[in-house]
């Protein structure tokens, strides 16, 4: 009985087996991918990345394998070990990312791809020439130049293989914060002064609680750092000559200047200064008005030290400001009678635009300035070459205005013989960390000042003398920055109300924030581009253009977008989010094969 049952079973299975598609049946029909995979190629690519980029690495690995490469992964746990591996040259492809925080295309290419760039590993005369040419051009002219640059960089030479352009996403607790007052800008760091509570009565009593991943602050001196640990903090602590709007237009709104103008020739830049900002200091745990005004001499001092490589030890931002030749205070009113660039009005008229009392006198001494009676201060910046994008660099946090008097009184050491164990520079994080070394000497020109910090949080207080009575005056008196490293923990903190604002919601978690009734998800474009950087030394990929192109055309950006559920955009280079060049990278298995064959034949 049992045996007959089994016989039937076997028969059924055999019948079923007839209807079953096997793998080779299927691949015969589709007749590509699986074939190229079975002929195991001996081209091995070593892909270097950080564990945070594991998903991207897996996508690239999969695409390369499907196109006949072999892939070796080199995954490093943190940025330090990643850079160590990169410096040692242990890679063919390095998963890299870049965010253009100044919002101008020059910054997006200069330090990465120019022969003498801070972060450049390549040297190509043609590319150097195009970068320099584009920097002197205005927005309508440079599109074509950047198009040529992309052609050369990506399609002709394949120095990089682009993956995607990210969005920026910010979760806001809308039960606590008034969502309309929370900005999400494409490039600039978030401005805290505009943020307000739903219940405005709480402004003085309750702190605004935000989050930041890194708790070790590089330096609170704006020129000594340019990274995620201080960008937002210094942006809110130091005012700048100009600001970026949410979509990267340079404006004077909410900055130290009332108006600014470019003189004919695109080499002279004029800034009309406000008279209603004083530096704040911390005394007995309270933010007080130091009585010292933020004036033209501070601007000249700040920008001169910003462009001078040797003004401080560990100067990390001078390359952004090298285009400036001279910064001076204008006292002669007749100097403003030059034409504004590309228009018929004079610089003076441009600067006076919207003023209640016109400019009657320009003063040297900042205490003598009184805008109500027509006494103003004007700063003029001259660039080495015509370079309109200098304004973007002036909007960067590293161009924040510090107090000449205070910084000079703290930085008394000799730069050449600076001893990190003995000398305490202005902005050292130890001076604001709770403990024996606490000695807060910060002078903040911005809406907030850092009172103290520990490993868990940093506390900021409102600058009482920052544009009081205007719309730019900070609304909330206290800001607490929690240091939460992990994005998932930060999201949890946002959801349980521990923090009010979370900048950097992961792509795969958008729906979680959107589905939570008390949260609001703000989304905007960003300038962050992720790409694969080819090694330029001692590797097969460094010598063979064909091999690099084979990798380039293996990259399928549609699949990447799919993985991120459409929450990424296509990119061709780091310029893509800033300039629409019309280029697109289309994956092409036939081209890959062609280039691979070409590479193999030369070997």
């Amino acid at each position: 009985m049992k045996k007959s049952l089994l016989a039937i079973l076997v028969a059924v299975v055999l019948v079923l087996a007839g209807c079953v598609n096997t793998k080779s049946d299927v691949s015969d029909k589709a007749n590509d991918k699986t074939d190229s995979k079975t002929d195991q190629s001996d081209v091995v690519m070593e892909l270097l990345g950080m564990s945070t980029g594991e998903a991207d690495m897996n996508i690239v690995r999969d695409q390369l394998i499907k196109n006949g490469f072999q892939v070796k992964l080199n995954i490093q746990p943190d940025y330090g070990s990643f850079t160590a591996q990169k410096d040692a040259g242990n890679y063919d492809l390095a998963l890299s990312s870049w965010t253009t925080v100044t919002g101008n295309p020059d910054y997006a290419v200069r330090s990465l791809f120019k022969s003498d760039g801070d972060n450049s590993i390549m040297s190509d005369e043609e590319i150097d020439k195009l970068i320099d040419q584009a920097s002197t051009e205005t927005a309508d002219q440079y599109t074509d130049t950047y198009n040529q640059l992309e052609q050369r960089l990506v399609f002709d030479k394949a120095y990089i293989a682009p993956l995607y352009n990210s969005f920026k996403a910010q979760g806001v607790n809308k039960e606590v914060l008034n969502v309309d007052t929370v900005r999400l800008a494409k490039s600039r760091a978030i401005a805290w002064e505009s943020i307000d509570f739903v219940d405005t009565a709480k402004r003085a009593t309750d702190p605004l609680i935000v989050q930041q991943a890194i708790g070790t602050l590089t330096s609170l001196d704006p020129i000594k750092g340019n990274d995620g640990s201080i960008n937002t903090l210094n942006t809110n602590m130091y005012v700048r000559l100009v600001n970026l709007t949410d979509d990267d237009v340079v404006v004077s709104d909410g900055s130290l200047s009332i108006n600014h103008a470019i003189a004919e020739g695109n080499q002279d830049y004029y800034f009309l200064l406000r008279d209603d900002i004083n530096f704040a200091a911390i005394t007995d745990g309270k933010a007080v008005d130091s009585g010292e005004r933020v004036g033209a001499d501070d601007v000249v001092f700040s920008l001169n030290r910003a462009k001078d490589k040797d003004s401080v030890p560990d100067h990390r931002t001078y390359s952004l400001h090298e285009s400036m030749q001279e910064i001076e205070v204008v006292t002669d009113l007749s100097e403003l009678e030059v034409k504004q660039s590309g228009s018929d009005v004079t610089v003076k008229e441009a600067l006076e635009n919207g003023l209640e009392s016109k400019i009657t006198e320009l003063v040297e001494d900042k205490t003598a300035a009184d805008n109500a009676t027509g006494k103003y201060q004007v700063v003029k910046i001259t660039t080495v070459n015509p370079f309109p994008q200098v304004l973007n660099y002036l909007a960067h946090q590293s161009a924040g205005i510090v107090s000449k008097k205070q910084v000079e009184s703290i930085n008394t050491y000799d730069v050449a013989s600076f001893d990190v164990n003995k000398d305490i520079p202005y902005g050292d994080q130890n001076t604001v960390t709770e403990g024996d070394k606490y000695n807060n000497t910060l002078y903040a020109s911005g809406p907030y000042i850092l009172s103290h910090k520990n490993d868990y949080e940093a506390v900021f207080l409102k600058n009482p003398a920052y544009m009081p009575g205007t719309e730019n005056e900070a609304k909330i008196s206290n800001v607490t920055v929690r240091f939460i490293q992990d994005a998932d923990s930060s999201l949890a903190a946002l959801r349980n109300g521990e923090i009010h604002l979370f900048n950097g919601v992961p792509e795969t978690k958008y729906d979680l924030v959107e589905n939570e009734s008390k949260l609001f998800l703000q989304k905007s474009d960003s300038n962050a581009v992720t790409y694969l950087l080819f090694n330029t030394k001692n590797r097969e990929v460094s010598n063979s253009e064909d091999l690099r192109k084979a990798v380039l055309y293996s990259i399928n950006q549609d699949e990447v977008l799919n993985y991120y559920q459409g929450n990424k955009k296509k990119a061709v280079s780091t310029v893509s989010p800033l300039v629409d060049t019309g280029n697109e990278l289309v994956s092409d298995a036939a081209k890959v094969q062609e280039f691979l064959d070409a590479y193999k034949s030369t070997k």
């Binding site: 096997t22 080779s24 594991e54 999969d62």
Partner: protein, 496 residues
């Protein structure tokens, strides 16, 4: 008279098993019921609900059987033949993959159970599960090239196994087996190449009974396996381990590895369905295939990283225990230094230094475990070397080497085996933990810790991505622990 019958109820192994079966079966049924309601939309998922209904039927029947057995035992002092016959009906629960009731049913229908019968039953059950699990691949767009011949072979083996089950049930007695079973027994041992180690156990057991004329040896063998098979959790643990092991072997031919590692952007984060029984992960890889292939690494690393310290630690421990004082002191103090370093930290350090791959993982986990095995072995050797048979061996002029490895070590092995089984579970967890931390195997390779890592980021939206690998790890570790417990009961002479 009444108390005697109450005693019968108390000592009845079948009644205990019946209770065990219905309780576990009820739990599974309840889980199914819970899952058949979709709480968000407030409706019933029909397919899950039907499965629940079927399970509910068999669970109720199991409850009925348990009640009937209790009545029999209280009334007659033994289970009636009619009740045993009802067990044949419960055999059908095997079609629902309810291992608890099915195993119980096999137990119930046979009154006098030899270890061979139990082996044969579990052998068939294992094979059936392998076939059932592998046949899920039929719902995929395509199967691997070797799928059909492999499935055919597995099915032929199952036919053979079922025949053997019937023969064993009929002809094998507690004390002896008919000698014509020698050839089938050898065949069974050969078929154990599919990874179904119950084949091997049955084959060896039959050969022991056929070849051995020494009754005491047979009785010893019987009692040992009796103790293990009597222990429901131990045999269940053994079943699960052997099932996974066998799946790891068979999956080479029945599963397509590409489905587990190749990204498929057309099927990202799919909910469980027939095509993807456990759904797909964020790269569109079939979680079912990944779990199956992941078992291979977990088992390999688990076994290897236990075997290496057993051999090395056992060797050092035996030397230390036999040559007392100086050699003992040197070996054990050196091992104490190793013992002082936390095992998982040592593993992390080794992997950070030499890179993450399976071989390094095994070495990293092995090194830290050597001292504990050396200590266990040394303690046993110290005890055993005082026995008379050791002295007589010495008196006969055997060399130290032959005394240690021929006389002492074989008699000190039992605690080592038990300890090893119990620590394999720990090794499986350590493997997964290291992968979870990004220190194990490469992230795309299917390994349970890796799968769990991806799942943990989707815990809220696609919880099955974390629950399933979690359950797999829990299941395997629990199985090793249960088996270890059973082995301890069986091998420890003090438990007699």
């Amino acid at each position: 008279m009444i108390s005697q019958k109450k005693h019968a109820l108390k000592v009845s192994r079948e009644y205990t098993q019946a209770n065990f079966a219905w309780i576990l079966s009820t739990i599974v049924t309840m889980i199914l019921l819970w899952n058949s309601f979709s709480f968000k939309e407030g409706n019933i998922k029909t397919s899950v609900f039907y499965v629940f209904l079927i399970y509910a039927v068999f669970t109720s029947f199991q409850l009925f059987l348990t009640w009937k057995m209790k009545r029999d035992l209280l009334k007659y002092g033994e289970i009636q033949t009619t009740t045993r016959k009802l067990g044949y009906i419960q055999l059908f629960s095997i079609a629902t993959a309810n291992i608890f009731t099915a195993a119980f049913a096999f137990n119930l229908i046979k009154k006098k159970k030899t270890p061979e019968y139990v082996f044969a039953v579990y052998m068939v059950l294992t094979q059936l599960f392998i076939l059932a699990i592998s046949s899920f691949n039929l719902f995929k767009p395509y199967v691997t090239d070797s799928f059909i011949p492999a499935m055919g072979a597995l099915m032929l083996i199952m036919v053979f196994q079922i025949i053997m089950l019937v023969l064993v049930a009929k002809y094998v007695q507690a004390g002896a087996a008919p000698s014509w079973m020698l050839i089938p027994a050898i065949l069974l041992i050969i078929t154990s190449l599919t990874g179904n180690l119950f084949n091997l156990l049955l084959g060896v057991s039959l050969i022991v009974k056929i070849r051995s004329h020494d009754q005491s040896r047979i009785i010893k063998w019987n009692t040992m396996w009796d103790k293990i098979t009597r222990n429901s959790t131990a045999i269940l643990g053994m079943f699960f381990i052997i099932l996974l092991f066998s799946l790891s072997v068979c999956s080479v031919y029945t599963f397509d590895y590409d489905m587990a590692v190749e990204n498929n952007y057309g099927a990202l984060l799919q909910k469980p369905s027939l095509e993807y029984p456990f759904g797909t992960d964020d790269f569109g890889r079939d979680l079912f295939s990944r779990i199956i292939f992941g078992a291979r690494i977990s088992l390999l690393v688990g076994f290897a990283s236990t075997l290496i310290p057993v051999v090395i630690g056992g060797f050092l421990g035996a030397l230390a225990g036999y040559y007392s004082k100086r050699a003992d002191n040197i070996i054990m103090r050196l091992l104490d230094i190793l013992y002082a370093v936390p095992g998982i930290l040592l593993a992390i350090a080794i992997i950070a230094a030499f890179g993450a791959n399976t071989l390094n993982l095994i070495l990293a986990l092995s090194v830290g475990a050597i001292p504990t095995y050396a200590r266990t072995m040394r303690a046993n050797v110290l005890m055993v070397s005082n026995y008379e048979f050791v002295e007589s061996a010495r008196a006969l002029g055997s060399s130290d080497f032959s005394i240690i490895f021929k006389q002492i070590v074989p008699n000190s092995l039992a605690p080592m085996i038990v300890k090893a089984t119990l620590t394999i579970g720990g090794a499986v967890i350590a493997t997964s933990s290291l992968s979870f931390l990004g220190l194990g195997v490469e992230p795309h390779i299917p390994e349970w810790g890796n799968i769990l890592k991806i799942g943990s980021t989707y815990l809220e939206s696609h919880s099955y991505l974390a629950i399933i690998p979690g359950l797999a790890i829990i299941g395997l570790v629990l199985s090793f622990n249960f088996l270890g417990d059973g082995l301890r009961d069986a091998l420890d002479p003090r438990m007699d």
